[in-house]
Point group: C2
DNA sequence: GCACGTAATGATACTGCATATCAATGCCGC
DNA sequence: GCGGCATTGATATGCAGTATCATTACGTGC
């Protein structure tokens, strides 16, 4: 539950472990992502890397998604965004002001999920839980 | 927590209350929506109502969204869908097999939200909670 | 060190979902 | 009946993402 703790994985190594080649475009993308503190959109990455084709950007993001080191989420409007993930199973907080994405894995959530199994008819396959916040850093500015 | 209980609002009356005109296209759309048992997509509505322009369908859905009688949600793949809403504040279960949307408002969820306020840095503005399930009706078929 | 096969790339086109534009129409009050 | 605003729908556009496909790069076996 510490938002500032950043265990940043070596994304390229992750891809390599999965048997993918280390190529120049992939390294370019991955290096950019590793520097991102906030959530990001695919189009943003594409714009920042004019020398890499859009297909490659989307492909690489998809590889990272499958590898579990990147998460796809949505901002409050439902627009898609991505964020690096550090923990295994977690949920997200998205600051509507600065776009920073936090992860939390409160024990209460997991307890809730177990309790809810009785409340929900049928078999639970998956869930989506996201919180939209004004983060501590943005709160002072928002108050003005 | 009763999925089959359907208090179906008169959608046209809702729009009228907000000061919008009762027009033929809007009535056509609204009548179709009122018959929907499952979640639906905008394109589905557009396809079923060839005489109504797509802009009008999207516009009407947006009016209903703002009025709070329709909810926008996402299926497990993240594809957007809509559903009529009956209760005030609730969350959704989406059956991945038949697309039926259930609402639940388990007390545990609200308790969770209050407890989480301490865990999450900053001020919570909103959240998104969706469960993807195989509903009781589809379970037998899924087992085969 | 070369040839072959597969992985990867990127230009382009396309799909799905949704909004913007805008001229035409319709309804309402006066 | 007229002036004005709400509404409509055809069309264009935008955004997110995938499909296609010819070309290039890589790595492995020989």
């Amino acid at each position: 539950m510490n938002q500032t703790q950043t265990h940043r994985p070596d994304l390229m190594a992750v891809l390599e472990d999965q048997g993918y080649r280390v190529t120049a475009p992939r390294q370019t993308i991955v290096r950019l992502l590793e520097r991102k503190q906030e959530g990001f959109t695919a189009e943003e990455i594409i714009a920042e890397l004019p020398d890499v084709g859009r297909a490659t950007v989307y492909r690489t993001i998809k590889l990272l998604l499958r590898a579990g080191v990147v998460c796809k989420l949505a901002n409050m409007d439902g627009a898609p965004m991505y964020s690096l993930s550090r923990a295994e199973h977690h949920h997200h907080t998205v600051c509507v002001a600065c776009g920073s994405v936090g992860e939390f894995r409160a024990a209460t959530v997991e307890r809730l999920l177990r309790g809810l199994a009785d409340d929900i008819p049928g078999q639970i396959l998956g869930h989506r839980i996201e919180f939209y916040i004004t983060c501590d850093t943005c709160l002072p500015a928002a108050a003005s």
